[in-house]
């Protein structure tokens, strides 16, 4: 009996010790959305549960190891004790209630994080290999940065037309995969002004690690100001070259193609137009408009020597391709 009491006291002491020890470490990123509040609350509960369960098993184990270890010269066996059904039922039924209770909490917690606000602002998110594009249907423009007004629910409608990606801003907490062929949704309500990053959390190929885009949460007024600016920019960008530049940056071509002469995943565009390009079959072609157009419309058709045929196929219209070609021409 003495052993039980000592071990019991130690378990309780250890649970508190571990919990408060861990809780004093910053283990979660800044809390920047109202969804994060509920999720962090659940984390705290889980932390308590983990501390207690750890202590509950580990302390008696350690205690036995120390107190009931075999002394030198002792060759006898331990007590013959085969089990105790009441105990077994106890430690089956009590955890049963505990886990059902946890799951019940979890369901409520989930409902909280999914709660929809009828006034939510829609942002259309497109993920692609390897970048993000955000469209603001209420304002009619696209951006490669995600600007969000603080304290307003954002209803993200997400699409991908190549592979799976996952939208995750750690400071906001929840994440959601993007699945080709369907629209997936996520709701977040940023509540802290600041700049964060959306980080793709589903392996999507070579540059998965670098599939990050800025997320900037600003005051409502600043957001409106920014949006109007962007609208104006989009309207102004009507020369083919500037349209092309916009397309190139919103579609993430720069992830592979540099415009400063360094070789990345793909060849640089600096000085590309008019140069001689050697293909994998050894032939040499001149990078004229036709070649560049074909390279974009059908990347696999002619593969440049020294590069893997990894360039994705983008659903551009002919006009868009023409704009990109016009832009590439300016890079001398």
């Amino acid at each position: 009996m003495r052993h039980f009491i000592i071990a019991g006291v130690l378990v309780i002491a250890a649970s508190f010790g571990i919990y408060f020890g861990l809780a004093s470490v910053d283990m979660l990123p800044v809390q920047a959305s109202t969804q994060a509040v509920g999720i962090d609350w659940m984390w705290d509960i889980q932390l308590m549960a983990m501390s207690f369960l750890f202590a509950l098993i580990f302390v008696p184990m350690l205690y036995s190891l120390i107190v009931f270890r075999r002394r030198k010269g002792d060759t006898s066996d331990g007590e013959h004790f085969e089990g105790n059904n009441a105990l077994e039922i106890g430690w089956t039924v009590i955890p049963l209630f505990v886990v059902v209770f946890f799951a019940y909490l979890g369901a409520g917690n989930l409902a909280d994080t999914l709660r929809a606000d009828p006034d939510a602002m829609v942002v259309k998110v497109t993920g692609f290999q390897w970048g993000w594009k955000f469209a603001y249907p209420e304002y009619g423009f696209e951006s490669k940065e995600l600007y969000l007004p603080v304290d307003q629910q954002i209803w993200l409608k997400m699409e991908s037309n190549d592979v799976l990606h996952s939208f995750w801003v750690p400071e906001f907490r929840p994440k959601q995969d993007l699945v080709p062929g369907r629209v997936t949704e996520l709701r977040v309500t940023p509540n802290l002004v600041g700049s964060y990053k959306v980080r793709c959390a589903e392996l999507c190929g070579t540059s998965h690690a670098f599939m990050e885009s800025p997320v900037i949460v600003v005051e409502e007024d600043d957001f409106v100001k920014w949006a109007i600016e962007q609208q104006a920019l989009a309207a102004a960008a009507n020369t083919p070259e500037s349209q092309g530049e916009l397309l190139v940056s919103t579609n993430g071509c720069v992830a592979c193609h540099s415009i400063n002469g360094t070789t990345g995943q793909g060849p640089t565009w600096l000085g590309l137009f008019g140069s001689d390009v050697e293909l994998t079959d050894g032939s040499i072609v001149v990078a004229d408009e036709a070649f560049i157009t074909e390279s974009i419309a059908d990347p696999a058709a002619k593969v440049v020597k020294g590069f893997a045929p990894v360039m994705p196929l983008y659903p551009f219209t002919n006009e868009e391709i023409a704009n990109i070609v016009a832009y590439i021409k300016t890079l001398k």
Binding site: Q46, L53, F68, H80, E82, E88, N109, G181, L203, H208
Partner: protein, 685 residues
């Protein structure tokens, strides 16, 4: 070549590897105009040649060498066959041969032919072919003496068990080596050596990272499956008093099919790799290079090993128990083996099927998972996890069984609540079948499925908890000894506890939306896998080593192994969990320096090398003790189990005198009680 040694094996490995590499370069030059020094063709040839040459030097042209040579020939022949057909169909030269040498269909067919050739070459199907022709075969065939029997087909479950175990150790080393490579890259932010200009096997740095990371995952998992089979194969027939497994030929087959499977997994790295993670989700896997096909085939083949092995275990336990061994008197490990085998027998088919569907999508354009054709990528995830979740219990159930089996021996006290532990294994296995979608909370599957799967996932905690509580109760008031096997058992409980309690947070859907695909999850599963399998695996090797060899492994170095591995490992996984919570994604070659993870990552990398060093120590101890270990022919651990009541090493046909079960298996501390009684006690040694 008369002198077969490791030395001549290594020599031939380099010579043949160089020849293969040169040959590959030549072909490359022919096909692509110029040789590609970091390309796939040369690497593929080098790999195929080197592996078979190594065994040629080690062992001569028989057994495994013959299998490997046939596999190489078969692969090339199969590939050429398809290439020939394609040529006849009027394909252009550049569509028949390319930067991977063969085209994709040719590689796939070649690989299949290669596997079958291996099996015929090694001779594991000989008896069956005789049966087909109506010829009877002998049930007992004698093995060569010494180490040589391990390199060719043997029908003895003890030999097969050791073959499995050693193969598993080799694969753990390969997978671990991959981990060391990519952990080195992760030690600092920014790309250090796996840069975009780095080129190897037709891949650049980040692609190599992805291939290594994915292969690390799958090779480790395959190695666990083999390790599980190894321990089960060696131990289960001994524990139940059988002279062998129920189907010895199928047993050998199940082992040998894992060898070409491992070769295929390695082939996937050189044939362009694949960047899909071990989960191989389409559409990404439908776009990856040819390597992914080798990966699929490798897993598919290894899957058959698992299925047939499991079938054998169940049949053996049902049919071949010693007299008097009713269900509640079986050693507890046997229950674990049964529970594991139920999962492996049934669920494994689904990973095979899911990979097969992607394979066909790639080969024939069948649109199962292609949204453009009406396919559904999420369907793949359901099929995949329907196996791969239960699979994690395939890893741990035998591990937990080993803990339950060894704990009473070293606590000198009966196993607390035998029945409950036995039933909890079945409980875990069965509940494990209905929790798979907890890996898919963020996947975009039907929303209303998430809550039921949260409930079912939480239920797994209950039978697992029963085991933990019973273990603690077994230790309580025992007389605990701590030789090396017991240290690993205690380490296993501790580490698996950490892994286990980090499971329920993942099951909380909303919280998982944050945790999913972060290093938190990576930490969770390294803890469960190490605690549930790696630690018990080492424990069982230290424990049954004297049974298999008649010698003990060195205690001192065993303890060094433990005390180096455990803290390194704990720091590694605590680091993973910590940065994971803070926002470290999985499967990334590089992380944002602004996150401030650099110091933690550096420490983790150092700890990874610590683990590797400890494993190296283990290996040296393992091989050194075979010849030089302290002699141990009797009941080393003073155990009640039947296999320790006969001399070590175990006699060739196990129990020359059959035994009968006359008591409870774990009645330590009950004077005069006995578990087994040999039926004719007259015969003394």
């Amino acid at each position: 070549m008369k002198k077969n040694t490791v030395g001549s094996g290594l020599l031939l490995l380099f010579v043949a590897g160089a020849i293969g590499y040169g040959l590959g370069l030549g072909f490359d030059a022919l096909i692509n105009g110029a040789p590609n020094f970091s390309g796939s063709t040369s690497a593929a040839f080098a790999l195929l040649f080197a592996v078979s040459a190594f065994f040629f030097g080690l062992y001569g042209y028989r057994g495994i060498t013959r299998g490997l040579v046939w596999q190489v020939v078969g692969t090339l022949a199969g590939g050429l066959f398809i290439s020939g057909i394609r040529a006849l169909m009027g394909y252009k030269f550049s569509e028949i041969f390319g930067s991977f040498f063969f085209s994709e269909p040719a590689w796939v067919f070649g690989a299949l032919v290669g596997v079958i050739s291996f099996l015929s070459g090694v001779g594991v199907m000989d008896d069956w072919m005789k049966w087909v022709r109506g010829i009877d075969t002998h049930d007992h065939h004698e093995d060569e003496p010494g180490w040589e029997k391990y390199f060719s087909v043997s029908l003895d479950h003890k030999v097969i068990g050791i073959q499995y175990t050693v193969t598993a150790l080799v694969l753990i080393s390969v997978g671990g080596l991959f981990a060391l490579i990519f952990r080195t890259e992760l030690a600092y932010s920014q790309l250090q050596f796996l840069t975009t200009t780095f080129k190897l096997f037709n891949q650049n740095g980040p692609q190599i990272y992805n291939s290594l990371m994915s292969l690390h995952g799958m090779i480790m998992i395959v190695s666990i499956l083999l390790g599980v089979s190894g321990i089960i194969n060696y131990v289960v027939p001994l524990l139940i008093g059988a002279h062998d497994m129920a189907f010895p030929r199928m047993n050998a087959f199940a082992y040998w099919i894992a060898v070409p499977a491992s070769v295929l997994l390695l082939m996937s790295l050189v044939l362009g790799g694949f960047d899909t993670g071990w989960t191989g989700y389409p559409p990404l896997s439908a776009r990856a290079p040819v390597g992914v096909q080798m990966f699929f085939l490798g897993v598919f083949t290894a899957g058959w090993s698992s299925i047939l092995g499991a079938l054998n275990v169940i049949a053996t336990v049902i049919r071949m128990r010693a007299k008097g061994m009713n269900a509640m008197r079986m050693p507890i490990f046997v229950w674990a083996a049964i529970a594991t085998s139920i999962i492996a027998l049934t669920a494994t088919q689904l990973i095979g099927l899911s990979f097969q569907l992607v394979m066909f999508q790639r080969l024939f354009g069948m649109g199962f998972f292609d949204p453009a054709k009406g396919g559904n990528p999420v369907l793949f995830q359901h099929l995949f996890w329907f196996y791969s979740h239960p699979a994690v219990y395939v890893f741990v159930l035998p591990g937990l069984g080993i803990i339950s089996e060894l704990l009473p021996v070293f606590a000198r006290k009966p196993l607390f609540g035998y029945r409950w532990i036995a039933m909890s294994s079945l409980g875990i296995a069965l509940v494990g079948f209905v929790v798979w979608a907890h890996h898919m909370f963020t996947s975009g599957m039907n929303e209303y499925l998430r809550v039921p799967f949260m409930y079912s996932t939480m239920l797994v905690a209950i039978p697992t908890g029963v085991k933990f509580f019973s273990w603690v109760a077994t230790l309580w008031k025992g007389k605990i000894e701590t030789p090396t096997p017991m240290l690993f058992v205690l380490g296993a409980i501790f580490v698996f506890l950490l892994g286990g309690i980090t499971g329920p947070p993942n099951a909380m859907v909303a919280l998982d939306l944050h945790l999913h695909d972060t290093y938190w999850v990576v930490g969770h599963f390294h803890d469960t896998i190490f605690g549930g399998f790696v630690f018990p695996f080492f424990a069982s090797i230290y424990y049954w080593y004297p049974k298999a060899t008649g010698r003990r492994m060195n205690e001192f170095w065993g303890k060094v192994h433990f005390w180096l591995m455990t803290p390194s490992f704990l720091i590694l996984t605590f680091g993973m969990m910590y940065i994971g919570l803070l926002g470290m994604r999985r499967r990334i070659v590089d992380y944002d320096a602004a996150l401030g993870f650099d110091p933690t990552h550096l420490v983790m990398t150092i700890c990874a090398f610590g683990i590797a060093l400890s494993v190296l120590i283990f290996f040296i101890n393992f091989f050194h003790s075979m010849k030089n270990g302290e002699k141990a022919e009797g009941n080393v651990w003073n155990s009640r189990s039947p296999e320790w009541q006969v001399p070590s090493p175990m006699p060739a046909h196990n129990y020359e005198v059959p035994f009968e079960v006359v008591g409870e298996p774990y009645d330590y501390g009950l004077p005069g009680s006995k578990y087994v009684q040999f039926i004719t006690p007259t015969k003394k040694k």
